[in-house]
Subunit: 311 residues, 2 copies
């Protein structure tokens, strides 16, 4: 039996995981912090537990006895994620979860890491062996957990892959992020102020990110793996495409916002490991993903009554 | 009031800490895992708790409300320390301890790190900014905890120093270590087989190591600091000196043991930060420390009846 314990299964990326895992024949158990989220997580089997409570990770593993672990849960409060001490709590909880998983006979694990582990690579391109130089507590915690999770897994006899996820966009994105805020403004006919837009990034559609994580978990690749599209794009091109899709290019105000003082010019992923060793490529082009995201926002804003039904 | 919480205060290095802290005017509270160790730790105020129990670190801090933290406790079982999962548990417990300490208003912390964080520096000399490339789980855990403890302290407003301790010798050393095993054999008139002895190391007398930790805690230096003598010595010279002190040079068998396959030729500390910025130098030369160690073994073996009282 392939029984997978999934954390973060109601999140921006993780919400696509239960269906993808069920398709591959897994018995899917999700751990969620509240009864409300348990309802969202169906048809997967929900277990309500706060993994940050001392002792909770071991208790959850005892109950589920999983053969596989897909750990995506983390603290994600906007504006506070970079420096919150909750990052440290998640390191503790994640290690306790992995130890319990291995001790209970778990075999294969995938963890959600982040591009933030790299900090700012000198040439803007992050390869899996690029030295990790995180610039904030979030990045420090994910980088340290990544190294520890892999070293711990080796002693536990657990086969573990650590997915460093790059820039994400898609349905359910928090409203202050680039793609969500620009799309929403354009649909509502409001000005969409952005920075100069010359920053180059690696953007991937969240259902594809989650598909990559599930593909990795279901495979045998071990160690760190970048998860991105492998196709660098300027923010100007992303925003320009959104404006075309909505048909309101005149609302975009490039240069109206100062970019952050430490924002790198280029920050992209080398995805050759994911593609060549992992055998995975995205199902959606950037154009397709942005189109689906605009449609999702149009539907969502209409349902909320913020957009007239005939817009 | 300067109230210090000490962990590891009954260990090989830490056992010298309570007296040194009391001399400097601290109210000394030590956390020990058993009632037996509580007896050893007097006259410091003992608190019996297993810091690896979920929730225990926070509970201990709540009870003591310390202004200072000297955290030296770790898993030290010989032969298992390099790969034991207890290392991972100590990362979790140490982070929980630091978070609780900071949340309760703690101001200044010192942690025991290790040369093992460095792995094998290319030229054999470890400076604080030498990239950390640990080669086992113990080193991975200490290295990760060091980075996390410093990043977490910055957010907590705790001033923290991370002491990377090099090779230690002195009273109470476990019997299979180089200085203890050679000294014991020589005193008992037994052969003392060693490797070729050309390895160069940085050895420091444990009361001096502990004095450095207490000095650092009582000061203001932050970040990683190597703790060593700064005087490289070959193992052959260490063993030769022990043989002279006991007066049995003919018992030493250099070359009788194969050195480990990955044993570096040179592994020494650059201690300029400890000396110049920290203002600390050892009270004992290697000769003095070895002499005191031989005397301690002679006394201990006599008390145990392994050595006749008139030897």
């Amino acid at each position: 039996l392939q029984r997978v314990l999934v954390t973060g299964a109601t999140g921006f990326i993780g919400r696509h995981a239960p269906a993808l895992l069920a398709e591959r024949g897994y018995e899917v158990h999700v751990v969620v912090p509240t009864e409300e989220e348990a309802a969202v997580a169906k048809p997967a089997r929900p277990h309500v537990a706060d993994l940050l409570e001392p002792g909770a990770p071991a208790e959850v593993v005892r109950t589920i006895e999983p053969s596989h672990l897909l750990h995506m849960a983390w603290y994600v409060e906007p504006g506070q994620v970079w420096s919150s001490l909750a990052n440290v709590q998640w390191v503790e909880a994640s290690l306790a979860l992995l130890r319990a998983f291995g001790a209970a006979g778990g075999k294969r694990a995938a963890f959600a890491g982040t591009l933030t582990e790299y900090g700012h690579p000198p040439d803007g391109v992050a390869r899996e062996d690029t030295p990790l130089r995180p610039t904030n507590l979030y990045g420090e915690c994910k980088a340290a957990l990544g190294r520890l999770a892999l070293a711990t897994s080796a002693e536990l006899g657990v086969s573990t892959v650590w997915a460093r996820i790059f820039f994400a966009y898609g349905p359910f994105e928090r409203p202050r992020r680039l793609v969500s805020s620009v799309t929403r403004s354009l649909l509502l006919g409001e000005p969409a102020p952005t920075s100069h837009g010359r920053q180059v990034r690696d953007y991937l559609y969240t259902p594809d990110i989650c598909s990559a994580l599930v593909h990795l978990l279901d495979g045998e690749l071990e160690g760190p793996v970048n998860v991105g599209s492998g196709e660098p794009v300027s923010l100007r091109d992303v925003v320009g495409r959104l404006a075309e899709l909505v048909g309101r290019p005149e609302l975009v105000e490039f240069g109206a916002i100062e970019p952050g003082p430490n924002e790198p010019a280029v920050l992209v992923a080398d995805v050759s490991r994911l593609r060549d060793e992992g055998g995975w490529t995205p199902a959606h082009s950037l154009d397709q993903g942005l189109e689906l995201t605009v449609e999702w926002w149009r539907r969502t804003l209409t349902e909320r009554g913020e957009l007239p039904a005939d817009a």
